[in-house]
């Protein structure tokens, strides 16, 4: 790890001003990814501005049934927050199914949204990587790409976005609130994550010195029985091979509304709009779910080792829909497994 200077700030304006004034600086929250990346020279900030003292830790209920989550709130705190558990269990579950308890106790919500991909080539500074060093190529295309994306890929990048939380937020049409030298912005979660296209190094629209201050989740009554399903290689502390955040509203066995987003299979938290459009108005049957899954994965592209993810993505969609329509939620009201 290169030498860095470090300062700790107590108010948002100072934080923004400090980072905005120094192009080699960045915000430091929980540090659970940032410090790792500094150590392996993928991140090369020379000044870390610690924002853990900022008054951005609250989880607040919004009028009408929404929730506002402060950017430096800890993953574990948000997962346990009553408004989140009651109104948006998929958010609570996505948080609890990510990382390890120790990491969740440190990692912030803003940092979770801003986290970098776990692609091994991105993290290996000796390997070509268009995301880390634009123009150098993508070693994952023909390399170890078992964990890589099959949706939203480009010839420049096939890295998956690692966040579980972001999948739930995209499903819920959450809004990311930022504050920067140019003022305040509200960015829909789905827009927060661009497709890699030719510029996989551009991972979000946040400008230098602009700070994520909160996330707002708008009201969605059917989300109170939503859930988050995650397929992974071991039972804890592991990224998704495939995941789904899902909420469904039924009327007499027919889908009247649905929210569905995928993780682990796409270059960004993937709102499954094709599947949603197939489902709305369709009977809540396995056949409908399969048709929706087929539609969503129709354009999926594999690069060898990740070929299984196309079918796994389909099955994950079907399983998630079956589970949520059967109301077979597996996390009880206190947020703990039964």
């Amino acid at each position: 790890m290169r030498p860095v200077s470090y300062s700790r700030v107590a108010d948002v304006a100072t934080a923004i001003g400090t980072v905005a004034a120094d192009p080699d600086s960045t915000f430091l929250a929980g540090g659970t990814t940032e410090v790792d990346l500094q150590r392996i020279h993928v991140a090369r900030s020379k000044r870390l501005v610690d924002i853990n003292d900022l008054p951005l830790r609250q989880v607040e209920e919004l009028p009408g049934g929404g929730v506002r989550i402060g950017a430096v709130a800890r993953m574990s705190d948000v997962a346990q927050a009553l408004p989140v558990r009651r109104r948006f269990p998929m958010v609570s579950e996505a948080l609890l199914l990510g990382a390890s308890p120790q990491l969740r106790n440190m990692a912030s919500i803003g940092g979770n949204l801003m986290q970098r991909t776990r692609c091994g080539y991105f993290r290996d500074v000796a390997a070509p990587c268009n995301k880390r060093e634009p123009g150098t190529g993508c070693a994952a295309m023909t390399g170890v790409n078992r964990g890589h994306a099959v949706l939203g890929t480009s010839e420049y990048c096939i890295a998956t976005h690692p966040s579980d939380l972001a999948v739930a937020l995209v499903a819920l049409d959450a809004v990311v609130l930022t504050q920067g030298p140019a003022g305040h912005r509200q960015i829909p979660a789905d827009d927060f994550y661009p497709m890699p296209g030719e510029t996989p190094d551009r991972e979000h629209p946040v400008a230098h010195g602009e700070l994520v201050v909160a996330v707002e989740i708008p009201p969605l009554p059917m989300a109170s029985t939503s859930n988050y399903l995650k397929v992974r290689d071991r039972e804890s502390y592991e990224f998704a091979l495939a995941s789904a955040a899902v909420a469904v509203s039924l009327d007499a066995g027919v889908v009247t509304d649905v929210r569905l987003a995928l993780g682990g299979v796409a270059t960004k938290p993937w709102r499954a709009r094709r599947a949603e459009s197939v489902l709305v108005g369709a009977p809540a049957t396995v056949e409908s779910f399969r048709a929706a899954a087929d539609a969503e994965l129709a354009d999926a592209v594999s690069h060898g080792m990740n070929a299984y993810k196309i079918e796994l993505g389909r099955r994950t969609i079907v399983r998630a829909l079956r589970t949520v329509t059967g109301d077979a939620r597996m996390v009880s009201d206190d947020g703990n497994p039964p």
Partner: protein, 816 residues
């Protein structure tokens, strides 16, 4: 995971068992489970005294080798090759030397002694000599006043590489003459034919030991021109020999002490930073500390050999084996390390614990430009077991027999003959171990608690989406060093009065690597000397070699040496008693039996296999509670009185019975000291649609000969089984073109506690007449058969062939 001991669960009193649920209790002194308590009373053999490092480790207070510190120390860093294969045309260290705070930058030209080292063959460069043969090979080392300074300076070293195409395919390596060793085994008729033939090709991925404590140590230059090295290792004297040779120093000037070891599993048998820190310390005249980072650690130690195994089993229609033919190819990576022994194990144990009249096995180890492979728990036997046990299941299916039945029908037994012609002496309860795990009650049926279902709490799997499967496997492992190796261990035991209380000081060079050896040594001394107070000295090279903490051998070997030394002390005490005043000529003397003790380690007391605890040589006398009594119970003297004249100290070098090399053409020979067996029954629930596996329960049975420390035995069985589970389901270094692509604990997955099921453990204690107390090595067998049992269970649930480990979700969804 552990449970209540069930006293008397077996009729012969030589077994105990632990249920899969309930509290953790192991048998010990005073238990009613038929475990005898002998000799020294509290804390003797058969008890499970609290180990001294346990609470410290749990509290995070244990001092590991990475915690070593000297106030004036420098930090070492290593520049490693970015290429799997390249020539070195030049190295320019000028820019590194110019970094403020740098004290030394060394390359191969600065190695004063032998520039190559190795456990069996000295072919691995201390620092790269004109070429690099794997990615991560050390090229240069730096000492600086801060670890970051050292690392940044290392980055400034300019190496001119001539990059070569690496050889990474072991088949290509074999065809290209890069053979390390070929071990053929020929028994019976090579052209034997059979009514039923099953064939298969199986593969084992590259597993890592995944210890938590990275390679680390502190080298301190000594006033006499030598060096004191404090290091986490498995074998101090092998390190000493290799370090001294590289430094060009006599061994007595290279003194090693064991520092706190954060796990080993074979990965610390080869050198890592030992020579480098010593070179830097001698060059700078300052203590030098080196600690590898996690990614560096993954290239800083050897791994388990990946294997390609082809098997053909021929049997009668009744499932009796007629022949086994096998070809086993092991990728040894860039340097030799322990590959020759791994190949020999794979070959000699290659058909498993079965009676096979006709055997043709060819095992090969080759050099490639992949990371070097060497020692890891169960080496050679692990790979072969996945092959032969997969085959036994295929045979069972082909002849229409139950998997246990086909194994029992072919089970090796005491007096049976191995493919090497070696007769198995002592208990070989292969059939019984299988029956024990078979007869265990089945775990509860699939329930609706998500924590017990595949995928856990991740909302993946409902009970109706689960298919259950049960699989069996049994394995065989050699204990101690084989093939004529002069395997010995030395113990020095001193008995004296400290504060008026008889106290035993036990000193060996045996590495406590977390297995509990310190505790075991003290237990043996308590039993043999009838004292309660025992101090186990830090392992170092001021006492003779203990050999390696590997091959499941250390309780056998160092335990045997401690027992022998204690008995020598007892004999001296008896002589003192006979001499009346106790002021005999042996006072304080040190006797080195110089290897005179062998074959079972029987010293003095008549060669019975029993514990012999407290029995003083020659006279049928008992030593217990500090009092010597004769057979009639009369008190003849006390330790306090006898020791008033001064301490008694004895040092013994102890050997197991000799072994012989394998014939290079036929593979025949009595190559192994002892065989150990464990069986597993795995019950798994599979969600085939999502490819998720939950290991519901593992039942395991193992013959340990004698459980010196039952709690530690359970720990070895549970830990070894978990490591086998890791290989079955997730653990693999992904090596592409010679580069490890997942060198972190985020990307190299090991089981979490949520992945490890409850274990029902049956322990047999069937004494081996050749071994101290009849004990049998414990550490490796559980790892060997756990993997194939789990895979067999997944096959039973899914019907998939699953010829490679680890088995991952994509192998089960049928979409890989």
């Amino acid at each position: 995971m552990t449970g209540q001991i069930l006293p008397g669960a077996r009729s012969d009193g030589s077994a105990w068992s632990v249920g899969a649920v309930g509290g953790a209790v192991a048998p010990g002194c005073g238990s009613s489970g038929g475990v005898r308590c002998v000799g020294g009373g509290v804390g003797g053999i058969g008890a499970s005294p609290v180990r001294p490092d346990g609470a410290l480790k749990v509290r995070g207070e244990f001092a590991f080798s990475s915690d070593l510190w000297a106030d004036d120390m420098l930090w070492g860093a290593t520049l490693r090759s970015p290429h799997p294969s390249a020539t070195i045309r030049g190295i320019d260290v000028g820019a590194a030397l110019a970094v403020p705070g740098v004290y030394a930058v060394l390359t191969a030209d600065d190695v004063p002694g032998d520039r190559h080292y190795g456990l069996e063959v000295a072919d691995q460069p201390v620092l790269a000599v004109d070429e690099v043969c794997y990615r991560g090979e050390p090229v240069a080392i730096v000492a600086a006043d801060h670890p970051e300074t050292a690392r940044r300076a290392a980055e400034r070293i300019v190496v001119d590489y001539g990059v070569r195409e690496p050889v990474t395919d072991p088949e290509v390596a074999l065809a290209g003459g890069r053979l390390v060793r070929h071990v053929p085994i020929r028994k019976g008729d090579p052209a034997a034919v059979a009514e039923v033939v099953v064939t298969g090709e199986y593969r084992v991925g590259m597993q890592d030991q995944a210890f938590l404590g990275p390679e680390s140590g502190l080298a301190v230059p000594a006033p006499d021109g030598g060096v004191e090295l404090y290091v986490a290792t498995q074998w101090l004297h092998a390190d000493q020999r290799q370090v001294a040779a590289a430094l060009g120093l006599p061994v007595e000037l290279v003194r090693l002490s064991l520092a706190g070891v954060g796990g080993a599993f074979g990965a610390r048998e080869d050198l890592s930073m030992q020579v480098h820190a010593s070179l830097l310390a001698l060059r700078t005249g300052r203590p030098v500390k080196m600690v590898y980072g996690r990614e560096e650690s993954f290239v800083g130690h050897v791994h388990r050999h990946p294997a390609i195994l082809r098997y053909e089993h021929g049997a009668t229609r009744d499932g009796e084996l007629v022949y086994v033919r096998a070809r086993i190819l092991l990728d040894g990576g860039a340097y030799t390390s322990t590959t020759p022994a791994v190949v020999a194990n794979a070959a000699s144990l290659g058909v498993g614990p079965y009676r096979v009249p006709n055997v043709t096995v060819d095992a090969y180890g080759v050099h490639t430009n992949n990371p070097p492979c060497g020692a890891m728990r169960g080496f050679g036997a692990v790979q072969a077991c996945f092959g032969y046990e997969s085959q036994m299941d295929r045979l069972a299916e082909a002849v229409g027999l139950d998997p246990v039945e086909v194994r029992v029908r072919n089970a090796l037994a005491e007096g049976g003959s191995m493919p090497t012609g070696q007769v198995v002496e002592g208990p070989a309860p292969v059939a019984r171990l299988l029956e024990l795990v078979r007869d265990r009650p089945a775990p509860p049926p699939v329930g609706d608690d998500p924590r017990q279902l595949p995928g856990g709490v991740a909302n993946t799997t409902a009970p109706e989406q689960v298919v259950r499967g049960v699989g069996y496997a049994i394995g065989i492992k050699n204990v101690c060093f084989s093939e004529g190796f002069d395997d010995h261990a030395t113990a020095r035991v001193r008995l004296e009065l400290i504060g008026g209380e008889p106290t035993a000081l036990v000193h060996t060079a045996a590495a406590e690597v977390g297995q509990g050896l310190v505790t075991v040594q003290a237990q043996i001394a308590r039993t043999e000397l009838g004292v309660e107070r025992v101090v186990v000295a830090t392992a170092d090279t001021s006492v003779g070699s203990a050999g390696s903490s590997s091959a499941s051998r250390q309780t056998y070997m160092t335990g045997g040496a401690v027992r022998a030394a204690c008995r020598a002390v007892r004999a001296a005490l008896l002589a003192r008693l006979a001499g009346g005043s106790g002021a005999g000529a042996d006072d304080g003397g040190v006797a080195d039996d110089g290897g005179a003790v062998g074959d079972g380690g029987v010293v003095g007391d008549g060669g019975t296999v029993g514990d012999g605890g407290g029995r003083v040589a020659g006279g049928g006398l008992e030593l217990a509670g500090g009092v010597i009594r004769d057979a009639a119970g009369r008190t003849l003297g006390t330790l306090v009185d006898l020791l008033a004249a001064g301490p008694v100290e004895r040092s013994v070098r102890w050997r197991h019975r000799p072994t012989r090399p394998l014939d290079p053409v036929t593979g025949q020979g009595d190559a192994h000291v002892q065989y150990a067996f464990a069986a597993h029954r795995a019950t798994v629930d599979v969600d085939p649609e999502l490819g998720l596996v939950r290991v519901v329960e593992i039942a395991t049975a193992q013959d340990v000969g004698r459980a010196i420390n039952p709690q530690a035995v359970l720990g070895q069985i549970q830990g070894g089984t978990a490591q086998g589970l890791g290989l079955a389901l997730m653990e693999e270094l992904q090596v592409v073109d010679g580069v490890i692509r997942n060198p972190s604990f985020t990307d190299y997955l090991i089981p979490t506690i949520l992945d490890v099921p409850p274990m029902a453990v049956d322990v047999l204690e069937l004494a081996d007449p050749h071994a101290p107390y009849g004990l049998r090595g414990v550490g490796e067998p559980p790892t060997i058969s756990a993997t194939p049992a789990i895979v067999a269970a997944i096959r039973a649930a899914t019907g998939l062939p699953l010829a490679r480990v680890p088995v991952r979700p994509e192998h089960l969804t049928g979409t890989g």
